[in-house]
């Protein structure tokens, strides 16, 4: 039981948090609508704000609550995004997955709107688990940016017209990792930010979303890294992008590349950071929360090794933080980092797909296409359903209105009550 003094302390923390929430929010796009899922993990970095009502049960084989399914040649391990009435995804196919494609489908019908394709100019090689089409695309509502393991970047408008294309492997020939790159791009303040960290040419790059020209370039540690940049809006109103690596954690102002702060700390290189309620929550030393409302280098709020997120990115909802440590779903107090409960996900094989939350349910896909639905309504998490999609799933789902869009390795799925 909590003591009065602990309660007071907690109340102060919550009061502080309420103020911070008003000041610090995860980045939301100025043009995209509230129902858009604009980037890897969506505008709220995990769907914590989603009120979507998704069916608890669905089945790929029988078609139960599968509104539509579209087979897509090639392979993708990135997630889909939703812009207006379009679901956007990527694929890589052909010889050595050298053909890289960007595809748009009507989100109601699954009918293809348009397709763009390019030829990889960088090396397309990757581990068989991954794909050249590994990063999730990003959009600001009017531009759509696709990025690939081969370090090709393309930007199109919402009608699929090419706005610009850039081969970062040509600009920086030593950029790349033959296990595969996977950091997803973000668009912040009119700038596309990509994180290309490897043992060769290692950098983060800001490109003008209008024409792809370089706004800034920051050298990064020459070590393999698959974590994605995390967009955030700071209390001052400044839009920033957080970059994490095994050496450091830095905040960059995307409009000019100015480094707002940096700290030498070892962060995980697969799961990405998240932002919630004035806190930057970073896969580092397990999981570490930093106070973003302070000026300068953020101070550490807590660190909890048991919240180690392994491969999936953490997410926060209703003052709780959730991580997946191999096949264990761990829930912690977002204020203190204290572990509240753990739940084993039975029969789950490898899990790469970052989970999402819709309403009071957490949805977690394993690589074999099984989706575990966990109710977060009670004091403890409770598994209420396990569904089989029948497709390999490594990308994180997208949620828009009362539908979930899942990019399987071979198919794009809409899961909703018809």
């Amino acid at each position: 039981m909590a003591t009065p003094s602990k309660n007071r302390h907690r109340f102060k923390k919550r009061a502080w948090l309420a103020t911070a929430i008003a000041l610090v929010t995860s980045f939301s796009h100025p043009i995209a609508s509230g129902e858009d899922w604009t980037q890897f993990r969506g505008p709220d970095l995990g769907g914590a704000a989603s009120k979507a009502k998704l069916p608890d049960t669905f089945d790929g084989e029988s078609g139960k609550n599968i509104a539509w399914k579209v087979a897509i040649p090639g392979r993708s391990v990135g997630g889909a995004i939703v812009i207006g009435d379009q679901v956007i995804t990527t694929t890589s196919d052909g010889m050595e997955q050298r053909r890289i494609r960007l595809l748009s489908y009507n989100k109601e019908t699954g009918k293809q709107n348009w397709e763009q394709q390019f030829v990889s100019r960088g090396r397309p090689y990757c581990h068989p688990t991954s794909a050249n089409a590994a990063p999730t695309p990003a959009s600001d509502g009017s531009h759509i940016v696709a990025f690939y393991s081969s370090n090709d970047v393309a930007c199109v408008d919402t009608s699929g017209n090419l706005l610009w294309y850039r081969s970062l492997a040509s600009d920086f020939p030593k950029a790349g990792n033959d296990v595969g790159m996977s950091a997803s791009p973000v668009i912040v303040d009119g700038v596309v930010v990509v994180q290309v960290e490897c043992q060769g040419d290692s950098f983060a790059l800001g490109m003008k979303v209008e024409d792809g020209t370089t706004v800034w370039k920051q050298d990064r540690p020459r070590k393999a890294n698959w974590a994605s940049p995390t967009p955030v809006k700071l209390p001052s109103g400044t839009l920033a992008v957080i970059l994490q690596s095994s050496d450091d954690l830095v905040a960059i102002e995307p409009s000019n590349g100015k480094q707002l702060w940096s700290m030498q700390t070892g962060c995980a290189t697969t799961p990405s950071a998240t932002v919630s309620g004035g806190k930057l929550i970073v896969p580092s030393g397990g999981l570490t929360a930093y106070d973003l409302s302070s000026t300068g280098v953020p101070s550490e709020l807590w660190k909890e090794n048991k919240l180690n997120p392994n491969a999936c990115s953490p997410l926060v909802a209703n003052d709780r933080v959730y991580t997946i440590n191999r096949t264990i779903l761990v829930c912690g107090d977002a204020f203190t980092g204290k572990v509240l409960w753990q739940l084993r996900i039975p029969d789950a094989n490898q899990i790469w797909s970052s989970p999402v939350i819709a309403g009071d349910k957490l949805l977690l896909f394993a690589m074999d296409g099984s989706c575990t639905v966990v109710s977060l309504a009670g004091e403890q998490g409770e598994i209420i359903q396990k569904n089989m999609l029948g497709d390999e799933v490594l990308g994180s789902p997208a949620i828009s209105e009362n539908a979930m869009y899942v990019r399987g390795a071979k198919n794009l799925w809409r899961i909703s009550e018809r």
């Binding site: 010889m95 053909r99 394709q117 090419l162 706005l163 610009w164 030593k174 033959d178 043992q199």
Partner: protein, 388 residues
């Protein structure tokens, strides 16, 4: 008249197609293609043409060219008279980056104002067009239409487009049972490494032995020297005496290694992938450098490629010139992982490779290995002999 029509009216015809001897294109299908090809008409407006030229020329690290190209792409998106074939033809001679810009424009143009199937078929048949443009058209024509796809692929086993050839061979390999003759025909035209390995294995099952290493052109004979020190991975850019001696064309019998004098070891790999396993040869030495030298003789000057696969940091020199350098450890290894064009001169050509191992302790970071081959730009081995 467009270059496209001009070329055709001057009588450039598709070369005789290699098939596996079954059906080939049906007569009516081939006629349809030919008629469509003849009836193609294209008009060039000056402004779109200039915009296309802008896209053709985009080079790496050129922001000004990027801005111009982006503007040109926007203009072309509004251009109602733009013809898809005009855009695809512009890919011929474009920079590799320019080709992707043009591909992006062609995709949109074809969606908005599609050229006819017959016109596309004519373009696909024209093997003088850009290979990537032709493969794009192939996919437009055949995605979702297996019958059409199969008909095309039967005639495309030796297509100049690597992507089309890959698809044609993949299709031809679908049956489990193929005759020795069919497999040999496919092996002769195959260029993609996985397909080649598959073909050689299938021939082997039928009692036909193919020397895989020779087929690929792997350099299987080396003289090795080491280990030298690479503690802390600090020696990648340290020029050991052998590097300068090699450049000067003189080699000593012994050098000062990490733990005393080291001598040359002759290594001749029997591995089908031409692998030189330095971990095995040097007892899993860590934090070290090993050098390898070999001499290749060719009868006349030849432009070709040297292609290496290596899971460790490496540098490679040909005739004293640094050709390849990658300071990358344990992030995957592939046949043809790193490719560089070279020109071998008539007579003896001297190749030096420096392979660095770091000190990572993970199980997956213990390999110390490389392979190298010499081939033409399509991946076919060129004739050479190793000077012993």
């Amino acid at each position: 008249m467009s270059k496209y029509l001009d070329r055709f009216t001057k009588g450039v015809r598709p070369s005789k197609k290699l098939t596996l001897g079954s059906k080939g294109l049906s007569r009516s299908f081939a006629l349809t293609l030919s008629l469509g090809f003849f009836t193609t008409t294209i008009s060039y407006a000056e402004t779109p043409q200039k915009a296309l030229e802008t896209l053709q020329k985009v080079q790496p690290n050129d922001d000004a060219a990027m801005a111009r190209a982006s503007q040109a792409a926007k203009e072309l998106a509004k251009e109602s008279d733009l013809n898809t074939l005009q855009v695809l033809q512009a890919m011929q001679g474009a920079s590799s980056i320019g080709k992707n810009w043009l591909l992006g424009i062609a995709n949109s143009t074809q969606r908005k104002k599609p050229v006819s199937k017959q016109e596309l078929e004519g373009f696909l048949r024209d093997t003088k067009q850009d290979p990537e443009a032709r493969y794009t058209v192939f996919r437009w024509l055949t995605d979702g239409d297996d019958s059409s796809r199969n008909q095309w692929l039967e005639t495309m086993l030796d297509d100049p487009s690597p992507e089309i050839r890959y698809e044609a061979i993949a299709k031809a390999l679908e049956p489990k049972e193929l005759s020795v003759e069919q497999l040999k025909t496919l092996l002769d035209v195959a260029r993609q490494p996985e397909q080649i390995v598959d073909l050689i294995a299938r021939l082997d099952k039928q009692g036909i032995k193919v020397n895989q290493s020779q087929h690929f052109g792997f350099l299987s004979t080396w003289k090795l020297l080491g280990p030298f020190d690479n503690t802390g991975s600090k020696s990648f850019n340290v020029a050991y005496p052998i590097e300068t001696d090699w450049l000067n064309g003189k080699l000593a019998e012994t050098y000062q290694g990490r733990s005393g004098d080291v001598k040359w070891i002759s290594e001749s790999s029997e591995d089908p992938d031409g692998l030189i396993d330095l971990a095995k040869i040097y007892n899993n030495e860590k934090g070290c450098v090993v050098f390898g030298v070999t001499e290749v003789e060719v009868p006349s000057n030849v432009r070709c490629e040297i292609r290496i696969g290596c899971i460790n940091a490496q540098k490679l020199w040909v005739n004293g010139e640094l050709i390849i350098a990658n300071e990358v450890y344990h992030t995957g290894m592939q046949v043809d992982q790193y490719i560089a064009p070279i020109e071998l001169k008539a007579g003896t050509n001297r190749i030096l490779i420096k392979v660095c191992q770091n000190e990572q302790k993970e199980v997956w970071a213990q390999r110390y290995i490389f392979q190298a081959r010499i081939c033409d730009s399509t991946g076919k081995a060129i004739p050479y002999t190793i000077k012993h």
